[in-house]
């Protein structure tokens, strides 16, 4: 039975009416946030101090400002010859209803060379993981194991995306000018929910190793690195403004319910992207900020900074490691080439969208994959134990 949309239509109408009534109030909040950002841009040191004092006492993430809050950086010049590298991945998760315990990660990788010798490489590499050691992360004492599936598989995939990007970066000629882009965040904050040895395996011995490989390639070529978040939902900068507005010496979320004045309430619910959409003009980038995520304590020289980038169609969040943030040439390369990529890609970086196209695994691909696995088991006379639930979904009856 398919979804009965006639039973949902009234609920959709209610939602739309509610959103329409709330629209004016939302716009007021955004205007108020913009005004706050401008007012607070002078006392940066005092704000930084207040944010530092509030650290660990707020239930929400607060960005650490690096530059004057309302600074606008105009679009730097685009170099004549450059390469854009991008990787993206998709996966087929472990399915406990199938006999074979395995998962698959498909990494799409793209290198686009622009300028005097234009060229393109578009490729993908699917890798299947089925060994016990592939499917689990074990603690050093081998006493604990965490299965790689669900969210953790998503992070394993990020590690593989970064690894492939580092390989591609290593293959470009010495002396090249390049930008490497990944989709989504550079901060594997989901790892906070797992034991420390998982973070050690995936982050310290995985992701950060590959980021370091890319950084080191800069000895004889210029490679900037960034991740691109389209339509970001984060509120880290608005939260910094809430700290600024708080009448107390520092913010302590435990005391907020007792607050009578609620100065920060006027800007709560505003997203950073709405704030910067009201400040920047297309092509400009915002000030730099440092992401406050707890997992960042592991990042060291790759400590993730971010800025917002205003494009014609949207305001995106761009994350960069510290070695890019602190090098103006590389930072400008990220800024210029991302704007250029979005212009070439109808609003979204073309290299990322092609990497996605190479990586994507459709529902039909998933079915074919499991069918191939099952058929191969049958061919070798291995037992094809499968859950009744899975079988019942495939063989529908009346």
């Amino acid at each position: 039975m398919s979804l009965d949309l006639s039973k949902v239509i009234d609920q959709i109408t209610d939602m739309v009416t509610r959103l329409k009534t709330g629209r004016n109030e939302r716009l007021e909040r955004i205007n108020s946030a913009v005004a706050t950002l401008r007012n607070q841009s002078e006392g940066l040191d005092a704000l930084k101090k207040k944010i530092a004092l509030s650290r660990g006492k707020t239930t929400w993430l607060v960005a650490e400002p690096v530059e004057k809050l309302d600074i606008r950086h105009s679009l730097p010049p685009i170099p004549p010859d450059f390469t854009v590298l991008a990787t993206d991945g998709s996966h087929i998760d472990v399915d406990r209803h199938h006999a074979a315990h395995c998962f698959l990660i498909n990494i799409g990788a793209v290198a686009l060379r622009y300028g005097s010798k234009p060229d393109a490489i578009l490729e993908n590499q699917p890798v299947m993981y089925s060994e016990d050691s592939d499917l689990m992360i074990a603690s050093p004492d081998k006493l604990r194991e965490v299965p790689i599936e669900g969210n953790l598989l998503g992070m394993k995939r990020s590690v593989e995306e970064c690894k492939r990007l580092a390989e591609m970066a290593a293959s470009i000629p010495v002396g090249s000018l390049a930008l490497g882009i990944m989709d989504g965040t550079l901060i594997l904050w989901n790892l906070e929910a797992y034991p420390e040895f998982v973070t050690e395996t995936l982050l310290e011995k995985g992701y950060l190793v590959h980021l370091e490989e890319i950084r080191k390639l800069n000895a004889d070529r210029k490679i900037a690195l960034a991740s691109y978040i389209s339509f970001p939902r984060s509120t880290d900068v608005v939260n910094a403004l809430r700290v600024a507005l708080c009448p107390q010496e520092f913010v302590d979320s435990d005391k907020c319910p007792a607050c009578a004045t609620r100065e920060c309430y006027g800007i709560s619910g505003v997203r950073d992207r709405d704030l910067f959409a009201g400040i920047l003009t297309p092509g400009e980038r915002s000030a730099l900020f440092i992401s406050p995520s707890k997992i960042q304590r592991h990042y060291g020289k790759h400590l993730v900074h971010f800025f917002y980038l205003k494009l014609n169609e949207e305001t995106a969040r761009v994350e960069i490691p510290r070695w890019v943030a602190q090098d103006n040439e590389r930072l400008e390369l990220v800024h210029a080439l991302l704007v250029d990529q979005c212009e070439r890609g109808q609003g979204y970086p073309v290299a990322l969208s092609e990497a996605h196209e190479k990586a994507v695994v459709t529902g039909a691909d998933r079915e074919n994959f499991w069918r191939l696995v099952d058929e191969s088991l049958v061919e070798k006379h291995l037992p094809l134990a499968e859950s009744e639930k899975s079988r019942s979904k495939r063989t529908r009856w009346l």
Partner: protein, 195 residues
């Protein structure tokens, strides 16, 4: 890559095959004689349809050149296009060769997928066109192919390999007159395209 290697078979049947070009837009001319091999048989055919499109059916190309001065600049500014578009051509099988003998009728088996497709050399064209028995297969090419256009294009292409182009075309015209009997309009349509 060999000079005359055009591409390889990606779809095949008894009466024809489709080949994908190795290089975008490097399509053989309409009506040219090409061959593929399923050893020990060589399969001959003529290019009866060709085109270029997106490699993925769901992704249609979009217009990109509004601010570019030349078509070449569109490709320089979007280098991925060379990898996302493909040129294909459809070949109508009109004969085969086995043990050195050319037969102007369908081969025993269709071409294999991924078999290489080559443009025939002038010597091969000359050898193949010693007889006009292939015209019958061309005339019955089916509704997807503009038959009169195909027959005349094939004969024009073949004539370029002959020492005496005019006598070749005159001989072909006589053969067509016999084949088409009273179908004067069709005959005229072909003959006017041979000039």
């Amino acid at each position: 890559m060999l000079k005359d290697k055009l591409g390889e078979v990606i779809e095949s049947s008894t009466t024809g095959f489709t080949a994908e070009c190795y290089e975008l837009y490097s399509l053989p001319p309409f009506g040219s004689l090409v061959k593929t091999a399923d050893p020990p048989v060589e399969i001959y055919g003529v290019v009866c349809q060709a085109g270029t499109s997106s490699i993925e059916p769901g992704r249609r190309p979009i217009a990109r050149g509004k601010d570019e001065e030349s078509e070449a600049e569109i490709y320089s500014a979007n280098p991925q296009l060379w990898k996302l578009l493909r040129s294909e051509f459809r070949v109508l099988v009109i004969g085969h060769k086995q043990d050195g003998t050319v037969y102007h009728y369908l081969p025993p088996k269709p071409a294999r997928i991924h078999a290489f497709v080559n443009l025939c050399s002038p010597e091969e064209v000359k050898q193949f066109s010693r007889s006009f028995d292939f015209l019958d297969l061309l005339m019955n090419a089916g509704p997807q192919v503009p038959v009169e256009e195909l027959v005349s294009a094939t004969l024009r292409q073949m004539s370029t390999a002959q020492e005496d182009q005019r006598s070749f075309l005159v001989a072909a015209g006589k053969e067509l007159t016999a084949l088409l009997g009273g179908e004067f309009t069709r005959l005229k349509a072909i003959l006017t395209r041979l000039k």
